[in-house]
């Protein structure tokens, strides 16, 4: 099937092949949709390394698209947001990737929004998401559900899920991260709301605007502005300077969490 549609919001490009997808998302200002449930195996596309995909579209709905087995040794999705509406990317999974460069590279002056994005794989160097310039990167902004990250960082060097760019906001996200990875640094703005972080990380620096997070990961340093920005499993964390430290047993106790005003919902 060739590309159908005209690329407008009312009549988006519909694509079902990798080649057409690259063409469509590279079109400035375009609206792009993938046929539902598409699965593309990078071993069949470019096993030696995926090329950079220039994203100039303003809206990409993967409709459940899964891109598997991508070898990423140069910036993969290069998102150049040049319009005030920014770029919205949703319903895409990039799984079993092997990356030594950025999976998502954001530049341009305007914001980048991700909804229902799943990233899983192995990052050997570089930052998984690189915020080069411009306005904020929002992960799960007004989406039906959050974004998920399941990434091994097994490099001996310190690494970042996101680099220390400006205004990075996570909401309703789940992180399973392993290795010497930073979630924010003392000098940047890692904002997280309603997020669950587990695995084994190096440091997590919540910004003061963060709230309602649970950090259940082995971590060397937990810091940030404000107080009570997170429920932190103190059995797994050292150097906790912000948030409410609880024991592992308390973290599993709904009544206790209720008592410290971190209510646990009861299904009705």
């Amino acid at each position: 099937m060739a590309i159908t549609g005209t690329g407008t919001q009312a009549d988006p490009y519909i694509v079902d092949t990798w080649e057409d997808f690259v063409t469509a998302v590279g079109t400035t200002g375009a609206y792009v949709e993938v046929v539902p449930g598409a699965v593309w195996d990078a071993n069949d596309i470019a096993p030696e390394g995926m090329p950079t995909v220039n994203v100039n579209a303003v809206h990409i709905d993967g409709k459940g698209l899964e891109i598997q087995n991508a070898r990423i040794d140069r910036n993969f999705f290069d998102c150049l947001s040049t319009t005030a509406s920014g770029i919205t990317v949703e319903n895409i999974s990039i799984t079993s990737f092997l990356a030594s460069s950025a999976v998502i590279y954001k530049r341009g002056n305007y914001s980048l929004y991700f909804k229902n994005l799943i990233l899983s794989g192995k990052q050997t160097s570089g930052n998984t998401i690189y915020h080069y310039a411009g306005n904020s990167v929002y992960l799960n902004s007004n989406a039906d559900r959050g974004c998920g990250f399941f990434i091994d960082y097994n490099n001996e060097n310190d690494m970042y899920l996101m680099n220390d760019g400006n205004n990075v906001s996570f909401r309703d996200c789940i992180f399973n991260l392993n290795g010497k990875v930073f979630l924010g640094t003392s000098s940047n703005s890692f904002r997280a709301e309603n997020c669950y972080i587990f695995g084994e990380i190096k440091e997590c620096h919540f910004n003061g605007n963060s709230s309602k997070n649970i950090l259940n990961a082995y971590a060397e340093v937990i810091a940030g502005g404000g107080t009570n920005v997170a429920i932190i499993n103190a059995d797994k964390c050292n150097n906790v300077t912000t948030g409410t430290s609880v024991t592992d047993a308390q973290l599993k106790d709904a009544n206790y969490l209720d008592s410290i005003n971190f209510p646990i919902g009861v299904e009705i």
């Binding site: 030696e48 079993s96 092997l98 899983s120 799960n140 789940i174």
Partner: protein, 265 residues
């Protein structure tokens, strides 16, 4: 799916009122300090009990964010307890409450024996199967960060490949030694191997029911190519090889009962 969440407001009660311009002083009102984060509640029940025996009335305020003073809704005054139907107000993500005596007399935080708010919301933290809290909006993660077949450029180690040293699928000349073409075909009793076949790999017919095979005399094979006891014959009676016989013309077999072929001068 919906969840009920209960917040104890008692420790949050402080003196003062809330208006569309924000907090203001008042001797006849007490309010919750700060905002409670809750995603898109569809109803809220506020229950406040007085220490003085007076009837309390409650005011519910819903906000879109954590800082804007103007609420999405400001619903007042209702005798406690009262359930507010919020289904017509979209976008509430933070809530507050104000409490007063129904007779508008002075009130202080010490006059509030207890106060709580029960919220019904489509999403919430809940206890997941692993015993830890989880938020209902979280996506399902894959079972593993890397799943088969893996990127071809991923280094791997397999005792059967590259001598057990690291390899990846893009390596030139990669030698894969699999378990054998017909290995473990346990019901295989007969096979015809053409004379054109010149190599039979290790364990190619291991663990089969073969009792004899015939191969080209110049075909190379391993002692593990065929199951133990399988008789290996050669096309043309051994080609340039001959069956080893004793002086009486009786075939000589090796200790595995396999014919022994020898090549003459």
């Amino acid at each position: 799916m919906a969840y009920k969440l209960t917040f104890d407001l008692t420790p949050l009660i402080e003196q003062g009122n809330i208006s569309s311009r924000g907090d203001s002083d008042s001797n006849t009102r007490v309010r919750t300090g700060g905002r409670i984060a809750i995603d898109l509640p569809t109803s809220a029940t506020i229950t406040a009990i007085s220490n003085t025996g007076k009837t309390l009335q409650v005011d519910f305020l819903g906000y879109a964010d954590s800082s804007t003073n103007t609420p999405i809704c400001d619903l007042y005054w209702y005798d406690s307890p009262y359930t507010f139907d919020l289904s017509q107000y979209s976008g509430i993500r933070y809530v507050r409450a104000v409490i007063k005596n129904s007779d508008n007399t002075n009130i202080s935080p010490a006059d509030i024996a207890s106060a709580k708010i029960e919220l019904i919301a489509p999403n919430a933290w809940y206890m997941s199967e692993d015993g830890y809290p989880k938020y209902s909006l979280f996506p399902e993660l894959p079972a593993s960060p890397m799943e088969k077949p893996y990127p071809k450029a991923l280094w791997r180690i397999d005792p059967q490949i590259n001598g057990g040293y690291p390899y990846h699928e893009l390596m030139p000349g990669l030698v894969r030694k699999g378990p054998g073409a017909f290995c473990n075909a346990i019901h295989l009793t007969r096979v015809r191997i053409p004379e054109s076949v010149k190599t039979i790999g290790e364990k190619a017919f291991a663990n089969t029911a073969l009792r004899s095979v015939t191969i080209a005399p110049d075909c190379t094979y391993s002692e593990t190519s065929f199951p133990p006891g399988c008789e290996v014959n050669f096309y043309g009676g051994g080609g340039q090889y001959g069956q080893l016989v004793d002086c009486n013309g009786v075939e000589i077999l090796d200790c595995e009962a396999v014919r022994i072929f020898v090549k003459g001068e």
